[in-house]
Amino acid sequence: MTASQINIADFVSPSTCATPSTEDLARWQRGVLERTARQAVVAQGVEMTFGSGAVSSTVLQGVNLEIPYGEIQLLMGPSGSGKTTLLSILAGILTPTAGQVHLLGQEITGMSKEALANFRLNNIGFIFQGFNLFPALTAAENVEVALRMKGIRGKVAKQEAQDLLRQVGLGDRLTFLPRDLSGGQKQRVAIARALAGNPRLIMADEPTASLDSHSGHTVIELLRDLAKESNRTVLMVTHDPRLVDVADRVTHLEDGILVS
């Protein structure tokens, strides 16, 4: 399916249509609601071109993807195929050159920068290959920062940070600085941080790539348990074949096109 084959009527606001009948309108509403009600993530005809003119390179070419609620979706593919780019677009960090993205029933392409930031804040937890923890903050404080951004403060935030770290098995490492934690432990702190505020979507880019096989395994199991426990939708970019076992669905990206 390419972008031109999409049923545009599902995604165009009724006010832009010429005199829609009430029946059309109802059908339109039903269509959107049905699709987005079943799917946590819907990408339609997503294209991404970096640069312009002679130096431009098209990284994504009409990507369509749907991820149902509560599923763990894996995105695999060779290096440079555009996985991170697609993840960034699906997470509302990059704006695609063309196409639409719906998250949790809301269209995020076309949202203002501020609205988008707010959407990410309330709905998405991020996990990165490089952990991206504040080196000067303890494990608990790194989690608290995320909670504070989401409006949870003071004693409540402290307690919640401890609970989250306990959930990822780091109850005895609350006051450790990142430099005193192993890679796997750091990634678990990052997972606790991603879970702060209980977001419905988790976006992870190569969460196990920096880890040895043992800690990679711990992290994988943790991700699976946490996702399944609370019906979170997880989109994970990875090279790690071990992750295939925990995934509900696996999609491959090659040269900017999904092949599955």
């Binding site: 990059l94 707010n118 991206n132």
Partner: protein, 413 residues
């Protein structure tokens, strides 16, 4: 709650210390320059400020406190008759030459006043008392002048050429930084000291040759020999100012006009006007305001460069974490707040030790050099303001770096 700003700041202690050293340098430089400027300005007008007079009446040609023409003592008597004058006292100012015990001369300035009066001489005494200058040929001076006059203590004797003169008291906060050593004494003593150095060569022409009794103008009197006491003043003797205390509730502007009308050749100034005229004169005449202002500006510039540099490198080190915050959905303001908070911490932590340092330095310079670094509460608060503006202003560089960071960098390993 964990403060990212504070923790980032203390994360790299050596870098933090370099930053604080830079800020301390800047703050101290600004404080000292402003303090010296204030101290200098204040010192030039100390005698005016310490006086209880509401009005200063002097020759109409007056340039500032120390440069004016004499007026006759008779003006004092006339002033006492003007309605609204509660009290009037004479003040006399003469330049003299001080000759110390090792025959070195130093310019000095004698101030004669009424030791029984109320309008001048409310000094802070370190030793001696005001009444001591009623004795003939005595004086008191600021203790910061001891070294330049080559005196050690009260009761030491030197010469106010050609008279021998005895130090009977020491004061504090009475010396102007722009002026030669001020010697305070009674009107009669001042009149004698001040008239003494005219024609004191005492030379005559004898058989076509000039013969001088005291070739270098020094009286022959030995230091331990008695001198004829100074004579009483008469209404024709020259004084410098008539100090006036107005009756309570008197309109000073009206009284000024009445005094100027009643006392020919004079002009009256309120205490505030006198202070302003004198302070402005010294500031402009010496260019000290410009020079010290330049120093203070250099301090601020250096401070800004140091703080910008440190904040910028701190932010660059953490760009990925800031990007992460942005990716997670933090608004730019959350990040600005972190950087601004970091700048504020630097400001406060640089300011406090700098102020302590400057206050300590001020105590030392007064004691050792008689130089006042005046740090008033207003100055202290203003400098805190400058420090905060300096540090937060320097944060702008770092802030614009974070503003332009693309949250997509967070996925780069």
């Amino acid at each position: 709650m964990a403060s990212i700003a504070r923790k980032n700041l203390f994360e790299d202690i050596p870098r933090f210390l370099v930053a604080q050293a830079g800020i301390m340098f800047a703050v101290s430089l600004v404080t000292i320059q402003v303090g010296i400027l204030d101290g200098f300005g204040r010192s030039t007008t100390r005698l005016i400020e310490q006086s209880d007079a509401d009005l200063w009446v002097g020759a109409q040609e007056m340039l500032h406190l120390e440069v004016t023409l004499p007026i006759p003592l008779d003006r004092l008597l006339q002033a006492r008759k003007v309605k609204g004058v509660q009290r009037a006292e004479a003040l006399m100012n003469r330049t003299v030459v001080w000759l110390d015990s090792s025959d070195r001369i130093v310019p000095a300035r004698v101030w004669g006043f009424n030791p029984e009066g109320q309008l001048f001489g409310q000094f802070k005494f370190v030793s001696g008392a005001i009444a001591d200058v009623k004795q003939p040929y005595t004086f008191i001076t600021d203790r910061s002048n001891l070294a330049s006059l080559n005196l050690n203590q009260v009761n030491d004797v030197g010469r106010i050429v050609p008279f021998k003169a005895k130090l009977v008291g020491l004061t504090e906060y009475t010396q102007s930084m722009s002026s030669s050593a001020s010697l305070f004494t009674s009107l009669e003593n001042a009149n004698a000291f001040g008239g003494g150095n005219s024609n004191s060569l005492n030379c005559v022409i004898q058989a076509d040759q000039v013969q001088c009794l005291n070739p270098n103008g020094l009286a022959a009197t030995a230091l331990d020999q008695p001198q004829t006491p100074p004579r009483r003043l008469n209404p024709a003797d020259p004084i410098t100012y008539v100090l006036v205390k107005a009756e309570p509730g008197t309109d000073l502007q009206a009284l000024k006009r009445d005094l100027e009308a009643a006392l020919p050749g004079t002009r009256a100034h309120t205490k505030a006007e006198m202070t302003e005229i004198t302070r402005t004169y010294w500031r402009e005449r010496t260019g000290i305001g410009f020079i010290l202002g330049l120093g203070a500006t250099v301090g601020v510039v250096v401070g800004m460069v140091v703080v910008s540099q440190i904040l910028y490198s701190s932010v660059s080190d953490h760009i990925k974490e800031f990007g992460t915050l942005k990716a997670m959905g933090a608004s730019d303001w959350v990040i600005y707040r972190v950087i601004t908070e970091q700048a504020l911490w630097m400001a406060i932590l640089g300011y406090i030790p700098s102020m302590a340092l400057c206050l300590g330095l001020g105590v030392w310079t007064v004691a050792a050099k008689g130089i006042v670094i005046l740090i008033t509460p207003v100055t202290a608060i203003a400098i805190l303001g400058v420090t905060v503006v300096m540090c937060v202003g320097s944060a702008l560089f770092a802030i614009q770096k974070v503003t332009h960071v693309d949250p997509a960098i967070v996925f780069k390993a």
